[in-house]
């Protein structure tokens, strides 16, 4: 028995079987497995913040240093001062851009008055092609709750659709990006009585930063350059959130006309996002609409 327990192949097989059971259990709704990862955050979150801060400081310092090289040649004495000023300027420009972005973000409140808007920073990005959920720093403790069958839209600072919330934890939430193949949203051309269709993430287009547009009616084919916004059909997303523009249309198969869409949101360069949480009355209406749809 002892020999069997020390056998590496046996150990590996048993461990992997247990882990398979963990995966299955973890995918069940309300599984306690999900809460097991909470203590991990206590260890890794401070480290990640430190790494992020160091990286940002180094890149800011490096930018200041390279900016100062030209000045250094002109005047030895002024170099340090100018480099310092350049550094401060970079910081101020960053702050100014951020201020403008936040100002724009405040307009979200005016446009979608039935929604509470929760701002959050992106904590961690995708690990690889498949480990692709991103984590943001807002959760139950901020007042965000995800009901069964509900979907919370996530927009960037310019109010463009980024994705949706798929999991809300105590202090953070998991976001599914709109490029992911599991993502679907009903969209329409941003015009009066604009044609509606389905926008889905696609594995083959994801790396080019594009989404697939399906369900196109042959009589209402969108044109290249058309702006697409959420249609609000199904009640999962509010109507009118900008998604992106049509980049190409494929009419080679009349029975399955498709198009590609380039999202407005710069997914690769996300720092801050906003989660749109409907007010309670809105949630009830949404649930009624969803059940009527289904």
């Amino acid at each position: 028995m002892r020999r069997l327990l020390l056998n590496k192949r046996f150990l590996t097989a048993v461990t992997l079987l247990i882990l398979l059971a963990v995966i299955v259990l973890g995918s069940l709704p309300g599984s306690p497995i999900n809460s097991l990862l909470k203590p991990v955050g206590a260890v890794v979150n401070p480290v990640q913040k430190a790494v992020k801060y160091s990286g940002n400081s180094i890149s800011a310092f490096w930018a200041a240093l390279t900016d100062g090289i030209a000045i250094r040649n002109e005047n030895e004495q002024l170099r340090a001062e100018i480099a310092q000023l350049q550094y401060q300027l970079t910081q101020n420009e960053e702050a100014a851009i951020r201020y403008e972005e936040l100002q724009e973000a405040f307009h979200i409140r005016e446009v979608f008055s039935n929604y509470d808007i929760f701002g959050a920073s992106v904590l961690s990005r995708e690990s690889d092609e498949w480990f692709s959920v991103i984590r943001v720093g807002a959760g139950n403790s901020d007042g965000i709750y995800l009901e069964q069958g509900q979907s919370l839209a996530v927009v960037d600072v310019r109010m463009n659709l980024v994705g949706r919330v798929i999991e809300v934890n105590e202090d953070d939430s998991d976001i599914l990006l709109l490029l992911h193949e599991g993502f679907q949203v009903s969209g329409k051309v941003n015009a009066v009585n604009g044609a509606t269709f389905l926008i889905v993430g696609d594995a083959s287009l994801k790396q080019q930063g594009l989404c697939l547009v399906t369900g196109i009616d042959p009589d209402t084919i969108p044109n290249v350059g058309d702006e697409i916004v959420t249609s609000g059909d199904g009640g999962l997303f509010p109507q009118g959130i900008p998604i992106g523009v049509i980049e190409s249309v494929d009419t080679s198969n009349e029975l399955n006309i498709t198009a590609t869409l380039r999202p407005y949101s710069d997914i690769e360069d996300l720092n801050d996002i906003f989660i749109m949480v409907p007010f309670e009355e809105e949630v009830q209406e949404t649930n009624e609409t969803t059940s009527a749809d289904s």
Partner: protein
Amino acid sequence: MRRPQQIRKFIVYALYLLLFSTVQVTFPGILTFYGIRADLLFVLVVLVSYMFGFYDGIVFGALAGIIRDYFSAPSITTLDGTVTTALGIGLFLMVAVAAYGSSFFTVRIERNFLLAFLSVVTATLLYKVIGHILIFLWSNLVPGLSYNMGLSQIITRSVLPQTVLNLIAAVPIYLLLRFAGPYKKGVNPVLIDEKRKGDNSWLTM
């Protein structure tokens, strides 16, 4: 093993684990090509398990997997169409990779740097190929979910770039583990004992 050596081992492992896992998800632009990024943590687990043996690899791999699941779990579409995060897949992947790395040609051939890189290449190829097959099969099971990548796209846009990027990342990680790793001279003394007993081949690099 003496106490200072053990302390060094734990500190170095903890440091590398936290550093590589956080860098991976904090600076996604490091070593990327056509939307694919080098998987630093994956490479680290393969190399640790190949260079320092089964038990180091499995423990390190399990911890790396837990952190990966915490930072960026994969999302799966369930049979009823709900998209959810699937915890445990990172843990499973990293333990499996560690088991693979620790057994990669280590019984008959002495561990060496060429095989270390080969272990990274083969582990990446296996991971990507099995991953694409599983996703393809799952996509066919779930109504409404499609997986439109053709074979040539899978090879040229996923498998090959990932393998090349992981191989590039393996060079500095190998050097780190060899010259600033958890063991003096980059050799796990336990493996030398196993070699003496005839259980395993020890490290000659």
